[in-house]
C-alpha cells in the first residue's frame, strides 16, 4: 500500500497510534486538526517511539531521552543525532463526509 488512510475520529489527541504498514511501523500523532506521521523507531537504538511521551511538539524516546520534532523528525540532542523519517499527511473527507487522514508512504522525508 502506498498510502494509508484512517478516520480522524479514530485518533485521540496527543496520543500515539501505531500503524503497521508494508513500509514498517508508523507512529501517528494527532494534535487538534494536525496529524503527524513518523517512522516508529528511534534513530539511535531499536526502540519504538510510540512508547514515549509527547510534549512541546516532540515525541520522546523513553530509553535514552532524545526528543524528535513531530514536523521535521530532527532530534533535540544526543544520544540521537540522525533524524527519523516523517511522512506527509493530508486531511480530506470520505464519501460519508467524515474527516479522514491520508498518509503518503511513497514520500518519506529521507529516501
Amino acid at each position: 500500500m502506498s498510502t494509508h488512510v484512517c478516520r480522524l475520529a479514530e485518533l485521540r489527541d496527543n496520543a500515539p497510534t501505531v500503524l503497521r504498514t508494508d513500509h514498517g511501523d508508523i507512529v501517528v500523532i494527532r494534535q487538534g486538526d494536525e496529524v503527524f506521521a513518523l517512522e516508529d523507531v528511534c534513530s539511535h537504538a531499536e526502540v519504538p517511539l510510540s512508547e514515549g511521551d509527547i510534549a512541546d511538539g516532540s515525541i520522546e524516546c523513553w530509553l535514552h531521552g532524545s526528543r524528535f520534532d513531530l514536523r521535521t523528525g530532527e532530534p533535540s540532542g544526543p544520544p540521537a543525532f540522525a533524524p527519523v523519517v516523517t511522512y506527509p499527511t493530508t486531511i480530506g473527507q470520505d464519501p460519508a463526509g467524515q474527516p479522514v487522514v491520508t498518509i503518503d508512504l511513497t514520500a518519506p522525508s529521507i529516501p
Partner: protein
Amino acid sequence: MGVSDNAVQQTLAGTRSFDVADFAVPTGREEVWRFTPKAAFKPLFDDAPSDGQLAWETSLPAGVTLTEVSAEAAAAASPGAPIDRVAVLAAKHSGTAMRLHIPAEADLREPVVVNLTGVDAGRVVWGQLLIEVGHHASATIVLRHAGAAHYGSFTSVSVGDGASLDLVSLQEWDDEAVHAGHVSTRLGRDARMRSIVVSLGGIVRLVNTVDYAAPGGDAELLGAFFAGAGEHLEHRILVDHNQPHCRSNVVYKGALAGDKAHAVWIGDVIIRADAVGTDTYELNRNLLLTDGARADSVPNLEIQTGDVVGAGHASATGRFDDEQLFYLQARGIPSPVARRLVVRGFFADVVRRIGSDEIEAEIMRSIDGQLATLDDGADAEMIAAYETVFSELVESSVA
C-alpha cells in the same frame, strides 16, 4: 564429570530447548535482541510452516555422506539444543534435516562444499543441518549462502574425539536476504575446530555456540564481515568452558562503510567452576570507513574459577587512521589505493587462515567491490595500475 552444582547463577548461558514455548516472540528489550532490527526478522518469528527451500549444490569427497533424516532423529542426535526462537522454529518446521557425516579417521584432501542459494526473495525457508565428524577425522567444510530468502536455520556440529574440523561459513547474500541461524558445536576429547564466518551481504544474525564433551578441546572462532549501507550484520558467540583444560580463541574483524551500516558483535565466554586450566581469549576489531556507520561490540566473560591459564577479551572500534593515510599519500599512493591496502591488511590475518586460495580470492574480490562504492570519481585505471604493481610486489616477496 562436567558441570558441578554451585551457588552462582548462570547469566550468559541462556535457555536451550527444542520447545517453542520456551522462546517468546522477541520484544526487543531482551539483552540478546536489543540490537536487532525486529521488523526485518519478523517473518522468522512466526510459528508457521513453510515449504520454501534453498537450492542445494554439493561437492562431497569419497566417504562423506549427505543424507536426509527426520527432524526427530536430528534432534536426538544433536549435541545441543536451539538457543533462540528462530533456531527452535527452524528445528520444528524444517520437516527433515540434512545429515552430513564424515567417517571416523577420514583424512579428506578436498573440502566438502555445500552451496545454498535462495531462489525466492521474501520466502521463508526453514533449515536444519546436522554435521558429524567422526573421531580422528580431518576435514574442511565450506557452507556458502547466496541469493535471497528469509532463511532461519539450526545447525548442530559434533566433532569427535581427536578430530579436526575447519568449518567455513560464507554469507554472500543479496541485499534483500534475511538470515538468522544458530550453529551449536560440541567438541570431543582433544578435538579441534576452526570456524571461519565471513558475512558480506544481506541482513544476518548468526549465533555460534561451542561447548566441550571432555578435556583438551580447542576452538578457534574467526570472523570477517563488511557491512555496507543499510546492512545489518550481527554475530553472537558463546563459548562455554564446561570442561577443564580446553582452549578457545575468538577473533572477529569487521569493516563498515555507508550510511546506516550496522554491525553487532557479542562475545560471551563462560568459565565454569571446574574448568581449571582454561585458556581463552576473544577480540573484536571494527573499522569505520565512513560517517553514518555504527558498530556495537560487547565482550562478556563470566568466570567462576581463577585457576586458569588465561582469560581475556578486547574490543576496539575506530575510524581509518589519518596517520596511516598520510604516510601512504606522502609516498605517492593515492587515497583510494591506500584505503584498499589498509583494509586488505586489516582482514588479512583472518581471511588467510581459510586455507583455500580460491575462496580467499573470492572474499577479497567482494570486499574490493564494496570498497569501490566509496571511490568518488576516482580513476579506475589508476587503481588497477597500482593493483598490478602491488600484487607483483607481494608475489615476489613471498616467492
